[in-house]
Symmetry: C2
Subunit: 105 residues, 2 copies
């Protein structure tokens, strides 16, 4: 299990799996436009790692200049129910764990 967690036991990786698997996002710009604001270098790093571990496949959608879109592989898609459960847990509990904002005076 620890080996698997080295692959996807990371906040940004899990958000990217959600982006692809639940929100249908496939392109760099779509990932960057997410409200979490993934930093560009982290995005590139996590997409590379997901491909190296066979969870994501890259396909060209334009040649000049070359541009790619990213899709979950079958192994990657099997993580969708897990990410969905996390989102559900988050919706149930996030109020309790959110750091309270300072009240405006």
């Amino acid at each position: 299990m620890a080996t698997a967690l080295d692959v996807f036991g990371d906040k940004w990786t899990l958000l990217l799996i959600r982006d692809m698997g639940i929100f249908g996002r496939t392109r760099n710009k779509e990932f960057q436009d997410g409200k979490e604001g993934i930093p560009t270098n982290i995005l590139a790093n996590r997409l590379k790692s997901l491909q190296e571990h066979g969870l994501v496949q890259r396909k060209p959608y334009q040649n000049n200049p070359p541009r790619f879109e990213y899709h979950l592989t079958p192994a990657g898609k099997e993580l969708i129910p897990i990410v969905r459960s996390m989102a559900r847990w988050s919706a149930d509990h996030v109020a309790g764990i959110r750091i309270p904002k300072r009240t405006q005076k």
Copy 2:
């Protein structure tokens, strides 16, 4: 969801939830004896964070010197099915994602 992932979207945190929720481990020594070999400072840090976010509760089991054991709260227990699904995914896919060991000659 990102806020929730700040709490548990981390390899060591997820392993600790597994230790408590599935393996029934409650004490520092039991967490440290896990085969993943969690570093002591990370263990202390993650147990503290889990308590601060209401996922884990600390109870004294000895007074002199003071010693504590750690249990999942109801909110923490709701993560057990998620961790179980991760373990199942890991068992199905870990062969494909493990970095191959160099063959002995």
